[in-house]
Protein backbone atom coordinates (compact mmCIF):
# COMPACT_ATOMS: atom_id res chain seq x y z
CA UNK A 1 0.00 0.00 0.00
CA UNK A 2 1.46 3.36 -1.02
CA UNK A 3 1.84 6.37 1.27
CA UNK A 4 -0.95 8.03 -0.67
CA UNK A 5 -3.34 5.12 -0.14
CA UNK A 6 -2.54 5.13 3.59
CA UNK A 7 -3.26 8.87 3.60
CA UNK A 8 -6.64 8.33 1.91
CA UNK A 9 -7.49 5.40 4.22
CA UNK A 10 -6.76 7.56 7.24
CA UNK A 11 -8.91 10.46 5.97
CA UNK A 12 -11.77 8.20 4.94
CA UNK A 13 -11.72 6.34 8.27
CA UNK A 14 -11.82 9.74 10.02
CA UNK A 15 -14.86 10.60 7.92
CA UNK A 16 -16.54 7.38 9.07
CA UNK A 17 -15.56 7.97 12.70
CA UNK A 18 -16.88 11.52 12.98
CA UNK A 19 -20.62 10.65 13.24
CA UNK A 20 -19.79 7.60 15.39
CA UNK A 21 -17.92 9.75 17.91
CA UNK A 22 -20.77 12.27 18.09
CA UNK A 23 -23.43 9.57 18.59
CA UNK A 24 -21.20 7.66 21.06
CA UNK A 25 -20.63 10.72 23.27
CA UNK A 26 -24.19 12.00 22.82
CA UNK A 27 -25.74 8.69 23.88
CA UNK A 28 -23.37 8.43 26.86
CA UNK A 29 -24.38 11.89 28.14
CA UNK A 30 -28.06 11.09 27.54
CA UNK A 31 -27.92 7.59 29.05
CA UNK A 32 -26.23 8.49 32.36
CA UNK A 33 -28.93 11.02 33.33
CA UNK A 34 -30.42 9.62 36.55
CA UNK A 35 -27.68 6.96 37.05
CA UNK A 36 -26.68 3.95 35.02
CA UNK A 37 -25.85 0.31 35.78
CA UNK A 38 -24.03 -2.34 33.74
CA UNK A 39 -27.27 -4.33 33.60
CA UNK A 40 -29.09 -1.37 32.01
CA UNK A 41 -26.40 -0.96 29.34
CA UNK A 42 -26.37 -4.66 28.51
CA UNK A 43 -30.16 -4.67 28.44
CA UNK A 44 -30.05 -2.16 25.60
CA UNK A 45 -27.08 -3.53 23.67
CA UNK A 46 -27.36 -7.34 23.92
CA UNK A 47 -28.95 -8.84 20.85
CA UNK A 48 -29.07 -5.44 19.13
CA UNK A 49 -28.01 -5.65 15.49
CA UNK A 50 -27.87 -1.84 15.38
CA UNK A 51 -25.36 -1.46 18.21
CA UNK A 52 -23.36 -4.44 16.88
CA UNK A 53 -23.07 -2.76 13.48
CA UNK A 54 -22.48 0.68 15.03
CA UNK A 55 -19.62 -0.33 17.33
CA UNK A 56 -18.34 -3.01 14.93
CA UNK A 57 -17.78 -0.43 12.19
CA UNK A 58 -16.47 2.05 14.76
CA UNK A 59 -13.81 -0.43 15.90
CA UNK A 60 -12.75 -1.18 12.31
CA UNK A 61 -12.46 2.56 11.53
CA UNK A 62 -10.50 3.24 14.74
CA UNK A 63 -8.10 0.36 14.04
CA UNK A 64 -7.35 1.66 10.55
CA UNK A 65 -7.12 5.32 11.59
CA UNK A 66 -4.98 4.83 14.69
CA UNK A 67 -2.62 2.36 13.03
CA UNK A 68 -1.75 4.71 10.19
CA UNK A 69 -1.24 7.60 12.61
CA UNK A 70 0.95 5.52 14.91
CA UNK A 71 2.97 4.33 11.90
CA UNK A 72 3.85 7.97 11.17
CA UNK A 73 4.78 8.59 14.81
CA UNK A 74 6.93 5.42 14.89
CA UNK A 75 8.83 6.75 11.86
CA UNK A 76 9.25 10.38 12.86
CA UNK A 77 9.56 10.06 16.62
CA UNK A 78 10.89 6.54 17.28
CA UNK A 79 13.05 6.45 14.14
CA UNK A 80 11.73 3.09 12.89
CA UNK A 81 12.10 2.56 9.14
CA UNK A 82 10.85 0.24 6.43
CA UNK A 83 9.61 -3.23 7.31
CA UNK A 84 10.18 -2.87 11.07
CA UNK A 85 7.88 0.15 11.19
CA UNK A 86 5.20 -1.61 9.11
CA UNK A 87 5.44 -4.78 11.24
CA UNK A 88 5.12 -2.94 14.57
CA UNK A 89 2.23 -0.87 13.18
CA UNK A 90 0.45 -4.01 11.93
CA UNK A 91 0.78 -5.71 15.33
CA UNK A 92 -0.67 -2.63 17.07
CA UNK A 93 -3.48 -2.40 14.49
CA UNK A 94 -4.42 -6.06 14.80
CA UNK A 95 -4.28 -5.74 18.61
CA UNK A 96 -6.65 -2.77 18.53
CA UNK A 97 -8.99 -4.67 16.21
CA UNK A 98 -8.92 -7.80 18.41
CA UNK A 99 -9.53 -5.87 21.65
CA UNK A 100 -12.30 -3.79 20.08
CA UNK A 101 -13.98 -6.77 18.42
CA UNK A 102 -13.90 -8.69 21.69
CA UNK A 103 -15.57 -5.76 23.50
CA UNK A 104 -18.23 -5.36 20.82
CA UNK A 105 -18.99 -9.08 20.93
CA UNK A 106 -19.13 -9.03 24.74
CA UNK A 107 -21.82 -6.33 24.92
CA UNK A 108 -23.91 -7.08 21.84
CA UNK A 109 -23.88 -10.87 21.45
Amino acid sequence: MSEFHLYMAQRLSALVMAPFVIVHIGVMIYAIQGGLSAAEILGRTQGSAFWFAFYGLFVVAVSIHATIGLRTILGEWAGLRGGARDAVSAVIGLGLLALGAQAVWAVTA
Binding site: S2, E3, F4, M8, R11, G75, E76, W77
Partner: protein, 242 residues
Protein backbone atom coordinates in the same frame (compact mmCIF):
# COMPACT_ATOMS: atom_id res chain seq x y z
CA UNK B 1 18.10 51.45 21.90
CA UNK B 2 21.29 51.77 24.00
CA UNK B 3 24.50 52.67 22.22
CA UNK B 4 26.88 49.74 21.94
CA UNK B 5 30.40 49.49 20.58
CA UNK B 6 30.61 45.76 20.08
CA UNK B 7 28.41 42.76 19.49
CA UNK B 8 29.09 39.34 20.95
CA UNK B 9 28.76 36.93 18.04
CA UNK B 10 28.86 33.18 18.58
CA UNK B 11 29.55 31.20 15.42
CA UNK B 12 29.18 27.42 15.10
CA UNK B 13 32.41 25.99 13.67
CA UNK B 14 33.14 22.49 12.41
CA UNK B 15 32.01 19.98 9.81
CA UNK B 16 32.49 16.34 8.85
CA UNK B 17 35.24 14.89 11.04
CA UNK B 18 35.26 17.92 13.33
CA UNK B 19 32.34 18.16 15.74
CA UNK B 20 30.51 21.48 15.77
CA UNK B 21 31.72 23.82 18.49
CA UNK B 22 30.83 27.43 19.22
CA UNK B 23 33.42 30.19 18.86
CA UNK B 24 32.77 33.69 20.12
CA UNK B 25 33.93 36.93 18.48
CA UNK B 26 33.62 40.58 19.45
CA UNK B 27 32.48 42.45 16.34
CA UNK B 28 32.22 46.27 16.01
CA UNK B 29 28.59 47.44 16.09
CA UNK B 30 27.21 49.86 13.49
CA UNK B 31 23.82 51.51 13.09
CA UNK B 32 23.08 49.68 9.88
CA UNK B 33 24.45 46.18 9.86
CA UNK B 34 23.16 42.87 8.58
CA UNK B 35 23.97 39.45 9.96
CA UNK B 36 25.91 38.78 6.74
CA UNK B 37 27.96 41.96 7.39
CA UNK B 38 28.82 40.59 10.81
CA UNK B 39 29.87 37.19 9.47
CA UNK B 40 31.92 38.86 6.71
CA UNK B 41 33.64 41.11 9.27
CA UNK B 42 34.72 38.03 11.23
CA UNK B 43 36.04 36.33 8.10
CA UNK B 44 37.89 39.45 6.88
CA UNK B 45 39.22 40.76 10.20
CA UNK B 46 39.26 38.03 12.84
CA UNK B 47 39.52 34.56 11.31
CA UNK B 48 40.01 34.08 7.54
CA UNK B 49 39.34 30.34 7.91
CA UNK B 50 35.65 30.94 8.65
CA UNK B 51 33.61 29.31 5.88
CA UNK B 52 30.26 30.69 4.78
CA UNK B 53 28.37 31.28 1.54
CA UNK B 54 26.87 34.34 -0.08
CA UNK B 55 26.61 35.90 -3.53
CA UNK B 56 24.18 38.73 -4.32
CA UNK B 57 23.80 40.42 -0.89
CA UNK B 58 20.36 41.76 -1.88
CA UNK B 59 17.99 38.85 -1.21
CA UNK B 60 17.81 37.44 -4.72
CA UNK B 61 20.20 34.50 -4.95
CA UNK B 62 19.26 32.45 -1.88
CA UNK B 63 22.86 31.58 -0.95
CA UNK B 64 23.34 33.13 2.47
CA UNK B 65 20.66 31.49 4.62
CA UNK B 66 21.87 30.48 8.09
CA UNK B 67 20.42 29.81 11.51
CA UNK B 68 20.38 33.08 13.47
CA UNK B 69 19.53 32.66 17.16
CA UNK B 70 18.04 29.29 16.27
CA UNK B 71 15.85 30.59 13.45
CA UNK B 72 16.56 30.13 9.72
CA UNK B 73 16.97 33.50 8.00
CA UNK B 74 18.41 35.11 4.86
CA UNK B 75 21.34 36.81 6.52
CA UNK B 76 21.87 39.50 3.86
CA UNK B 77 18.44 40.99 4.51
CA UNK B 78 18.36 40.44 8.27
CA UNK B 79 19.34 43.51 10.25
CA UNK B 80 21.29 42.81 13.41
CA UNK B 81 19.04 45.20 15.36
CA UNK B 82 16.04 43.00 14.55
CA UNK B 83 17.53 39.78 15.95
CA UNK B 84 19.85 40.94 18.71
CA UNK B 85 19.37 39.01 21.94
CA UNK B 86 20.70 41.43 24.53
CA UNK B 87 24.00 42.26 22.87
CA UNK B 88 24.56 38.84 21.35
CA UNK B 89 23.79 36.81 18.22
CA UNK B 90 24.37 33.14 17.55
CA UNK B 91 24.93 32.08 13.95
CA UNK B 92 24.98 28.46 12.73
CA UNK B 93 24.64 26.44 9.53
CA UNK B 94 21.14 25.71 8.20
CA UNK B 95 19.29 22.98 10.06
CA UNK B 96 18.19 19.72 8.36
CA UNK B 97 21.15 19.72 5.92
CA UNK B 98 24.64 18.22 6.18
CA UNK B 99 27.36 20.71 7.06
CA UNK B 100 30.24 21.17 4.62
CA UNK B 101 32.18 23.43 6.99
CA UNK B 102 31.22 26.05 9.58
CA UNK B 103 28.27 28.03 8.18
CA UNK B 104 28.15 26.41 4.73
CA UNK B 105 25.44 23.74 4.52
CA UNK B 106 25.43 21.10 1.79
CA UNK B 107 22.41 21.97 -0.39
CA UNK B 108 22.52 18.73 -2.43
CA UNK B 109 19.66 16.93 -0.61
CA UNK B 110 17.54 20.06 -0.96
CA UNK B 111 18.03 20.30 -4.74
CA UNK B 112 17.86 16.54 -5.30
CA UNK B 113 14.37 16.66 -3.83
CA UNK B 114 13.31 19.33 -6.32
CA UNK B 115 14.03 16.79 -9.04
CA UNK B 116 12.33 13.98 -7.08
CA UNK B 117 9.21 16.15 -6.78
CA UNK B 118 9.18 16.34 -10.61
CA UNK B 119 10.15 20.00 -10.37
CA UNK B 120 11.00 20.09 -14.06
CA UNK B 121 9.30 21.42 -17.16
CA UNK B 122 7.23 19.06 -19.31
CA UNK B 123 6.72 21.06 -22.50
CA UNK B 124 3.39 21.21 -24.34
CA UNK B 125 4.97 22.41 -27.59
CA UNK B 126 8.24 22.24 -29.45
CA UNK B 127 10.50 25.11 -30.41
CA UNK B 128 8.96 25.04 -33.88
CA UNK B 129 5.49 25.90 -32.59
CA UNK B 130 4.17 29.37 -31.84
CA UNK B 131 4.39 30.51 -28.22
CA UNK B 132 1.28 29.62 -26.28
CA UNK B 133 -0.60 32.69 -25.05
CA UNK B 134 -1.17 32.64 -21.28
CA UNK B 135 -4.17 34.29 -19.69
CA UNK B 136 -2.83 35.99 -16.53
CA UNK B 137 -6.16 36.14 -14.74
CA UNK B 138 -7.05 32.45 -14.61
CA UNK B 139 -7.16 30.88 -11.17
CA UNK B 140 -4.46 28.37 -12.16
CA UNK B 141 -2.08 31.10 -13.31
CA UNK B 142 -2.59 33.03 -10.09
CA UNK B 143 -1.89 29.89 -8.05
CA UNK B 144 1.33 29.38 -10.04
CA UNK B 145 2.32 33.05 -9.72
CA UNK B 146 1.99 32.86 -5.94
CA UNK B 147 4.85 30.36 -5.75
CA UNK B 148 7.29 31.23 -8.53
CA UNK B 149 9.28 33.88 -6.63
CA UNK B 150 11.03 31.16 -4.60
CA UNK B 151 14.79 31.86 -4.47
CA UNK B 152 15.74 28.31 -3.31
CA UNK B 153 17.29 29.57 -0.08
CA UNK B 154 16.19 26.47 1.89
CA UNK B 155 14.92 28.52 4.83
CA UNK B 156 11.58 26.66 4.68
CA UNK B 157 13.39 23.30 4.47
CA UNK B 158 15.40 24.17 7.59
CA UNK B 159 12.34 25.44 9.43
CA UNK B 160 10.33 22.28 8.69
CA UNK B 161 9.93 19.89 11.64
CA UNK B 162 8.59 17.19 9.30
CA UNK B 163 11.90 17.22 7.40
CA UNK B 164 13.67 16.94 10.77
CA UNK B 165 11.68 13.81 11.66
CA UNK B 166 11.41 12.24 8.20
CA UNK B 167 14.54 12.40 6.01
CA UNK B 168 12.54 11.18 2.99
CA UNK B 169 10.17 14.14 3.08
CA UNK B 170 10.58 16.27 -0.06
CA UNK B 171 10.07 19.49 1.88
CA UNK B 172 8.13 22.70 1.28
CA UNK B 173 10.18 24.29 -1.51
CA UNK B 174 10.20 21.23 -3.79
CA UNK B 175 6.49 20.64 -3.25
CA UNK B 176 5.68 24.29 -3.89
CA UNK B 177 7.65 24.05 -7.14
CA UNK B 178 5.59 20.99 -8.10
CA UNK B 179 2.39 22.91 -7.34
CA UNK B 180 3.41 25.86 -9.57
CA UNK B 181 4.10 23.45 -12.44
CA UNK B 182 0.85 21.61 -11.82
CA UNK B 183 -0.96 24.92 -12.30
CA UNK B 184 1.12 25.94 -15.31
CA UNK B 185 -0.83 25.86 -18.59
CA UNK B 186 2.48 25.16 -20.35
CA UNK B 187 3.12 21.94 -18.43
CA UNK B 188 2.06 18.81 -20.28
CA UNK B 189 2.42 16.10 -17.63
CA UNK B 190 0.33 16.87 -14.57
CA UNK B 191 -0.02 13.16 -13.79
CA UNK B 192 3.75 12.75 -13.50
CA UNK B 193 3.77 15.62 -10.98
CA UNK B 194 0.97 14.10 -8.89
CA UNK B 195 2.67 10.69 -9.03
CA UNK B 196 5.94 12.20 -7.85
CA UNK B 197 4.36 13.99 -4.88
CA UNK B 198 2.26 10.95 -3.89
CA UNK B 199 5.18 8.63 -3.16
CA UNK B 200 7.30 8.06 -0.09
CA UNK B 201 8.02 11.41 1.57
CA UNK B 202 5.56 13.21 -0.70
CA UNK B 203 3.05 15.94 0.11
CA UNK B 204 0.97 13.57 2.26
CA UNK B 205 3.75 13.48 4.85
CA UNK B 206 3.17 17.17 5.66
CA UNK B 207 1.60 17.80 9.07
CA UNK B 208 0.50 21.34 8.13
CA UNK B 209 2.52 22.91 10.93
CA UNK B 210 3.21 25.88 8.68
CA UNK B 211 6.77 26.76 9.67
CA UNK B 212 7.57 27.08 5.93
CA UNK B 213 5.03 29.86 5.49
CA UNK B 214 6.01 31.49 8.78
CA UNK B 215 9.73 31.69 7.97
CA UNK B 216 9.79 32.16 4.17
CA UNK B 217 11.79 35.39 3.72
CA UNK B 218 9.94 36.14 0.47
CA UNK B 219 6.60 35.78 2.25
CA UNK B 220 5.52 32.91 0.02
CA UNK B 221 3.04 30.30 1.24
CA UNK B 222 4.38 26.76 0.64
CA UNK B 223 1.88 25.35 3.14
CA UNK B 224 -1.05 26.34 0.91
CA UNK B 225 0.76 24.88 -2.10
CA UNK B 226 1.16 21.55 -0.28
CA UNK B 227 -2.51 21.61 0.71
CA UNK B 228 -3.31 22.23 -2.96
CA UNK B 229 -1.33 19.13 -3.95
CA UNK B 230 -3.17 17.07 -1.32
CA UNK B 231 -6.50 18.27 -2.74
CA UNK B 232 -5.39 17.56 -6.32
CA UNK B 233 -4.23 14.01 -5.51
CA UNK B 234 -7.44 13.28 -3.58
CA UNK B 235 -9.52 14.64 -6.46
CA UNK B 236 -7.66 12.42 -8.90
CA UNK B 237 -8.22 9.42 -6.60
CA UNK B 238 -11.98 9.96 -6.83
CA UNK B 239 -11.78 10.25 -10.60
CA UNK B 240 -11.97 14.02 -10.75
CA UNK B 241 -9.92 16.00 -13.20
CA UNK B 242 -8.65 19.49 -12.98
Amino acid sequence: MPERDHLTVTVQRGGPGAPMRPQTFEVPAYDNQTVLDVVSWIQQNADPTLTYRFACRVGMCGSCAMMVNGVPRWTCRTHVSKVLDGNAIEVGPLRNLPVIKDLAADMDPFFDKWVSAEGMHHPTRTRDDAIEPIDPVTMERQEANAGIECINCSVCYSACDTVAGNPDYLGPAALQRAWTLYNDAKDANKDAILDAVSGKGGCHSCHSMGSCTTYCPNELDPLSAILGLKRATAKRFFGGRK
